[in-house]
Symmetry: C2
Subunit: 257 residues, 2 copies
């Protein structure tokens, strides 16, 4: 059974891309077949894996707009054991171009059907907005959405708006949409703010919050400049160990469902 | 002469809102008349000043879509000496609703004309995207765009895409659009990454980069939870002193133009 998860949160800079890349890498390291789909025009997931976003032409855009099979855009990275459907800045136009297209909210879901049986996990990295690209990802995310929550006040505050959008998508587009889990990121034990955010999120969302908390760790922000997941950049770092633990927690709790 | 600046960068979480709020507060503390316009559906600038975004109804949305005079949406805060045109989640619909409207890229510029003479500075807080809301702000920003750049690799990487978009807006919509300055934010002197990003941005953009660098400082991220600029929350903090210095640098270099 292939599990499809979207990393979504309209608040910017909360760790969506970092989670997609590093959770993906640790799932792949466990022998699972993993596909990352970069649904963000910033193409940060693409560049975090060492690709030049201005050089790739077979991207998710072609599947969303030109209906080219997604299978034709899948790039394999044998070293990371990760597959990627890349993005490039052309995708920025899709937010508007999708508006007039038939089945505009279901295009990513349809495109993913052509590759779904080849993978155990498909992770969708979303842009920091609630437009048609993120909506497409929320419709395609048949097993739920993973919400990275930075341990900061403004990120906490944005959760209401996100859950309201999830309710709308569930009502009108994807009745199966659920929260797979909230992931607390950039936790800094030295600040009261971090601790307050963790306790508020846990008290409000209960078991929906992953036990694993990702600490603030500079190695996570350095790894993208080397074009590799933290597993390959510094596997002993606190950030790496957290994403390794998250992969274990996800697989374990998936198996129980 | 009223100066209108947009805080823009499609990379999420780089300090756009933090800069708009705190730069605005320190400009106001110098006796200047300052208006903040929250052009982000997340409404973080609105909530950072203590307002409940779900309670405000007179927002920038009404001026962009319903052509209600912007003057009717201006809220004065006597304590902070700041005026604000708030936002709320309804603005998320504007990205799509604007697509079919005449003069869709100029609606914010037109709306601002009704209030421009009342202020010395108008600061526009943008969402983390390059859609029609940010485009409207870039067209309205007659004196330029202030680009917060987080001292991280992915934020550095995104600058090329941003400058390409600025070139397009300058060519098709606002020939006067220029970069007023790049502001390095969340600088952490303990990490090599921060230092590398600073030296790369300075070597690439030269004098366009503000001398003032904003350090990573937890007081800046705590202040929004109290609904006040850092000037009122902790004026002696490193973050506060940096934004005070930025206000001084901006005014000094504006006067020389
Ligand atoms: N746990 C962490 N510790 C330190 N830095 C981190 C951590 N997680 C992410 N970062 C860094 O913080 C920045 C924001 O993270 P990231 O880009 O993954 O967030 P995002 O939600 O995908 O952003 P956007 O909204 O722009 O898509 C990046 O520079 C990243 O390298
Ligand atoms: N210099 C700083 N030191 C520490 N924290 C900061 C600093 N500047 C901003 N922050 C915090 O980092 C987070 C991101 O900043 P902010 O929300 O201002 O960025 P943004 O670019 O407006 O984000 P978005 O893309 O979501 O609009 C916020 O929680 C903010 O409080
Ligand atoms: Mg991202
Ligand atoms: Mg903001």
């Amino acid at each position: 059974m292939t599990r499809i998860y979207a990393m979504a949160n309209q608040k910017g800079g909360v760790g969506k891309t970092t989670t997609a890349i590093n959770l993906g890498a640790y799932l792949a390291a466990r022998g699972l077949r993993v596909l990352l789909v970069d649904v963000d025009p910033q193409a940060n997931a693409t560049s975090s894996l060492g690709l030049d976003k201005n050089q790739v032409s077979a991207t998710v855009y072609r599947s969303l707009i030109d209906e080219v099979s997604l299978a034709d855009s899948v790039l394999q990275n044998p070293r990371f054991k990760l597959a990627l459907v890349p993005s490039n800045p052309q995708l920025a136009g899709a937010e508007v171009e999708l508006v007039g297209l038939l089945g505009r909210e279901y295009r990513l879901l349809r495109a993913i059907q052509t590759v779904v049986t080849r993978f155990d996990y498909i992770l969708l990295d979303c842009p920091p907005s609630l437009g048609l690209l993120t909506i497409n990802a929320l419709v395609a995310a048949q097993h739920g959405v993973i919400i990275p929550v930075q341990c900061e006040y403004l990120a906490l505050e944005g959760l209401t708006q996100l859950t309201q959008t999830l309710d709308l998508v569930r009502k009108h587009l994807n009745p199966k949409l659920r929260i797979r889990g909230l992931l607390l990121t950039m936790y800094d034990p030295r600040t009261n703010l971090s601790q307050q955010v963790v306790s508020q999120v846990r008290s409000h969302f209960g078991d929906l919050v992953f036990q694993t908390v990702v600490p603030r760790n500079v190695r996570l922000s350095e790894a993208p400049s080397y074009g590799e997941p933290v597993l390959f950049f510094d596997p002993k770092s606190a950030g790496a160990l957290a994403y390794q633990a998250l992969a274990g927690e996800l697989v374990r709790t998936d198996d129980q469902r």
